[in-house]
């Protein structure tokens, strides 16, 4: 067994030292009924080659986005990640380290997290950021619960154009923590107005930008309305590449910004692990969930970093903690921060421009197809295409032609028949002219 270094000689010597005849006798506290002496009905151990073949066979049954034209988005985005990123995150000193509890020998992790926190602040336009949450959806639910704590109110207004998963996660927490949600209806036209839903009970308003249908909106007015009512504005971002080109939520007056960090530095991998970004204003710092890295000095006066403000956290505060989160998305934040370091100011801006330009070109071409219409005026790299038929059927037909044509809105909003013909279509720097030709050509055929 290649991962087990003990030999039978070792085991005998160790049992002798311990003074027991067998390992089984070390399990003497296990009651008979629970002890599984007999065989386990699972396969026996296998070598690398066999395991590779078995998992490779499963992979071969899937249609990977890198092998065909793909226009999928809806909260997860494929981008080209420089080879350096994946190389560096696999360095054993990063990969196989734990949460940096011993700062003297984890300055590497601590320093990159400090840099990560700063980068998240810069792109979102916020003042403080934590060291990551599980994903964009859970970060958004945590933001709502934080807003409840900050405002001591218990009613959150949720945009109908928030990603349905994010909304559903909020609903789950609301059910158990017994706070109220005022839910907007999905509005593919992008003209939703939430101001009317804000009342004196409202702890926060949650919007997404660009929203689920792709709409870019200026939430400055909404922020003002929130603040007037004593509520916080939470802005969720599912595509952080947009922040290279678009006004950040911080500049619109957001109090908390959550985001899905996957698109920067992380692979799609069928939905996880992803990366929750979480940023807020300095004044709310002590109500934040999650880990925080802070700057300090060592006994020799040298600058260094430590985990800090842990009195917010479960391992110190237990049931009074701001969140129960422990393990977060460490290595995903490393991928994010490395990619963003490589991009820098110029690269992120340029990347965002390419994404937008490709999406605009694609939208123009698709809107020229008879029966098709673009429902989104202002967007970043994703928009809503109105088809003359149910989008799910069209997508299936495109699969026959080896095209991943987009995400049908009905996949996420199955109970709204009026949304059935809507297709979310995303472009990126990976989208080639040939990809666009393929989609346009295929759509013309299947419609």
């Amino acid at each position: 067994m290649r991962y087990l270094p003990l030999t039978d000689t070792d085991r005998r010597a160790m049992l002798a030292k311990i003074g027991v005849p067998s390992v089984d006798s070390l399990y003497r506290d296990v009651p008979e009924v629970a002890w599984q002496g007999g065989p386990i009905h699972l396969p026996a151990h296998q070598g690398e080659l066999e395991v590779e073949r078995a998992i490779g066979a499963m992979a071969a049954k899937n249609l990977g986005t890198s092998s065909v034209p793909s226009f999928l988005g809806a909260g997860a985005y494929r981008h080209h990640v420089p080879a350096a990123v994946d190389h560096l995150i696999q360095r054993g000193e990063f990969l196989t380290s734990y949460t940096p509890y011993q700062p003297e020998v984890t300055q590497g992790t601590l320093q990159y997290l400090f840099e990560f926190q700063t980068q998240v602040c810069l792109i979102t336009g916020m003042e403080v950021a934590n060291a990551s949450m599980y994903d964009g959806g859970t970060a958004t639910a945590e933001a709502v619960m934080m807003a409840n704590r900050v405002t001591r109110r218990h009613r959150a207004v949720i945009s109908g154009n928030l990603h349905p998963h994010y909304r559903e996660i909020c609903e789950t927490h609301a059910r158990f923590l017994e706070f109220k949600l005022a839910l907007g209806d999905p509005d593919p036209s992008g003209s939703e107005d939430l101001v009317g839903l804000i009342d004196s009970e409202t702890s926060c308003v949650v919007v997404q930008n660009p929203d689920f249908f792709g709409h870019l909106r200026d939430h400055t007015k909404l922020a003002e309305a929130c603040h007037k009512a004593g509520a916080l504005l939470i802005v969720a971002v599912t595509e952080p590449v947009s922040l290279g080109l678009v006004q950040p939520p911080g500049a619109m007056g957001a109090d908390i910004v959550t985001a899905e960090g996957q698109p920067i530095g992380n692979a799609l991998t069928y939905g996880g692990p992803y990366l929750g970004l979480f940023a807020t204003r300095e004044k709310y710092m002590r109500q934040m969930p999650g880990r925080l890295v802070g700057e300090t000095t060592d006994v020799d006066g040298k600058r260094g970093w430590v985990l800090t403000l842990s009195t917010r956290e479960q391992h110190i505060r237990r049931e009074k903690a701001t969140s129960n989160i422990c393990t977060n998305s460490g290595l995903c934040s490393l991928g994010f921060t490395i990619h963003l370091t490589l991009l820098g100011e110029a690269g992120l801006t340029r990347l965002a421009e390419i994404n937008h330009a490709n999406a605009v070109r694609l939208a123009e071409r698709l809107s020229a197809i008879p029966g098709c219409r673009i429902a989104t005026d202002a967007f970043f790299n994703e928009f809503t295409l109105v088809l003359p038929k149910p989008a799910a059927d069209v997508v299936e037909k495109l699969v026959q032609k080896k095209i991943l044509g987009g995400v049908p809105v009905s996949r996420l909003h199955p109970k709204q028949p009026e949304l059935a013909n809507l297709l979310l279509v995303a472009a990126s720097e990976c989208t080639t002219d040939a990809d666009m030709d393929a989609l346009v050509g295929a759509l013309k055929e299947v419609l």
């Binding site: 087990l4 270094p5 311990i18 399990y27 506290d29 386990i40 590779e52 998992i55 490779g56 899937n62 249609l63 990977g64 997860a76 560096l88 000193e93 990969l95 196989t96 949460t99 940096p100 011993q102 700062p103 003297e104 984890t106 590497g108 992790t109 997290l113 926190q117 998963h165 789950t172 059910r175 158990f176 923590l177 909106r217 290279g244 678009v246 006004q247 500049a251 692979a267 799609l268 991998t269 939905g271 996880g272 692990p273 992803y274 925080l292 300090t296 000095t297 040298k302 842990s310 479960q314 290595l331 370091t341 490589l342 991009l343 100011e345 992120l348 937008h356 490709n358 202002a378 699969v399």
Partner: protein, 509 residues
């Protein structure tokens, strides 16, 4: 070794240990670590929302970035460096095969919202992993989406509450042993419960009498870790579960320590209703400096109907994914969604590769060796250290600080001295039921040679502490990239981000 009193360098570097500034202190406009083509010329459709002003990100070329992160990594300790006996964390070897497989085409490049017909292999993989988890735990169902142990706890406790709601019961309290991990009480609170602590008995187990005293019709359940965080098997588990079930409550098993019993004990046979499994512990997915993890939750028949969305089902036309209530024909009672998309697929791939590599036989050997290693540590270290409890332990050996009594050396000092010796310290001051706890979990991937070196070193340190060398301990660590850091100031005047020297930078352009 003829070391001089002071060896200063002009650079501050010390041979291979190289000082590294922040990226923000190295960035220069006009530098970039990527080359991107010019975007196609289009009329923008940003609706007037184009960013105003610079972002403030630094520009580094690729060689600088590679060096930056390489140097940072060199300031980290990791399993790949040596023994990492953080109790309760199961820092075992992370096979590189698993890293490779998580990245292959057809898995690494799958979008979570692809048509189901294009992800049959992915769903098969999730289903396979679920099968292993159910078989190993002896449980009928498993919720795959939780992102980590604590997230799994949310899932389990929510399922409990959903089941109680379904019964129309409004139970208010969750019992949590004193020795529990902080996430347990935090989770109970996050699900709207009051937390009631149960003391440990002198044998380091849940005090059965105290438990029974707290048990009443208002108790929703108990969250109990087995083996517990003292590294001991809760011999009364079945009784506790039986009593709890009689009282109408549920048993949440914290499976963080499953590594000790995998292949030997099926928690389902002990009366567990739900239990999270940290794939990043027992099943070797890397901890990555703090995550990501994955925390599937196995569920009893009683709780299975309340499992969160989405889940994989197998039908005549292959696998499909139930993402909405009723979308699979029946009106279920799922408590809803807990996580975006389908969960930590990247971790599923790694965990399944690990399980297949070990097989049923290997996993049992894993538990055996983990327990053997811990008991060996316990036996050898007891020469100088003071075990917190008697009897064989499971996968971790717990000591208290009696052996340091009157030495002027604390558990913390002792840990810092271990760092100079080339080890990562054990978990300290946890569990709370033991004074100055030192909780050591070697895991099965540590060789006897490695343990013997660790033991030799710790015995020598204990002797030095007893011999009055407290000053050396207080000064430790002295051979690390940084020495003890001022955590008090860090918390009192938090500096959580870099700030540009001239704040007007931000407003420029």
């Amino acid at each position: 070794m003829a070391e001089q009193p002071k060896i200063e360098t002009w650079t501050g570097n010390r041979g291979l240990m190289i000082e590294e500034p922040l990226i923000f202190e190295q960035g220069m406009p006009g530098r970039c670590g990527v080359d991107l083509p010019a975007p196609a010329a289009v009329n923008d459709r940003l609706g007037g929302l184009r960013r105003k002003g610079a972002i403030g990100l630094p520009g580094l070329a690729e060689p600088q970035a590679i060096r930056h992160y390489t140097r940072l990594s060199q300031k980290n300790y990791a399993i790949d460096s040596g023994i990492y006996p953080l109790g309760s964390c199961t820092m075992k070897h992370n096979p590189r095969l698993n890293e490779k497989l998580a990245r292959i085409a057809g898995l690494g490049d799958l979008h979570p919202m692809q048509p189901i017909s294009t992800v049959q292999g992915a769903l098969e993989l999730i289903d396979q992993l679920a099968h292993w988890l159910k078989t190993l735990t002896g449980m009928p169902a498993v919720a795959m989406s939780p992102a980590a142990g604590a997230h799994g706890e949310l899932c389990g406790v929510m399922a409990i509450r959903a089941a109680l709601d379904h019964r129309g019961e409004k139970r208010k309290r969750i019992l949590v042993p004193e020795s529990a991990h902080g996430t347990n009480p935090a989770t109970a609170a996050a699900c709207g419960f009051e937390v009631e602590s149960i003391p440990a008995n002198t044998r380091g187990r849940v005090d059965l009498a105290a438990f029974r005293a707290k048990l009443d019709g208002n108790v929703a359940g108990i969250m109990i870790t087995n083996p517990n965080t003292c590294g001991l098997f809760e011999g009364d588990f079945e009784r506790i579960a039986e009593d709890m079930h009689k009282a109408g409550g549920f048993v949440y098993g914290d499976g963080a320590n499953f590594n000790a019993i995998v292949g030997h004990v099926r928690p389902g046979h002990l009366g567990v209703d739900c239990m999270h499994i940290n794939l990043h512990k027992t099943f070797s997915t890397p901890h990555g400096g703090g995550g990501p993890g994955s925390g599937p939750v196995v569920l009893s028949e009683a709780l299975a109907p309340f499992a969160p969305l989405p889940y994989v089902v197998h039908g005549p036309k292959g696998f499909s994914l139930v993402e909405h209530e009723g979308s699979h024909g029946k009106k279920g009672a799922s408590f809803g969604r807990l996580k975006g998309f389908q969960g930590q697929m990247g971790m599923f791939i790694r965990a399944l590769a690990y399980m297949m590599s070990h097989g049923a036989d290997g996993l049992r050997q894993v538990a055996n060796d983990a327990v053997l290693n811990a008991n060996y540590l316990m036996a050898c270290l007891s020469e100088e250290l003071t075990p917190a409890f008697e009897g064989p332990c499971m996968h971790e050996a717990l000591f208290d600080d009696r052996f340091l009594k009157d030495t002027g050396v604390t558990t913390l000092d002792f840990a810092k001295m271990m760092i100079d010796e080339g080890f990562h310290p054990m978990t300290m001051y946890f569990p709370l039921v033991v004074h100055g706890a030192l909780l050591m979990e070697p895991t099965e991937t540590e060789s006897k040679e490695s343990l013997d070196q660790f033991i030799g070193s710790l015995l020598s340190l204990a002797k030095r502490a007893k011999a009055g060398e407290a000053d050396a301990f207080h000064a430790a660590p002295r051979l690390t990239p940084r020495r003890r850091l001022d955590e008090t100031t860090a918390a009192r005047r938090p500096v959580l981000r870099w700030q540009p020297p001239q704040p007007q930078n931000q407003a420029a352009e």
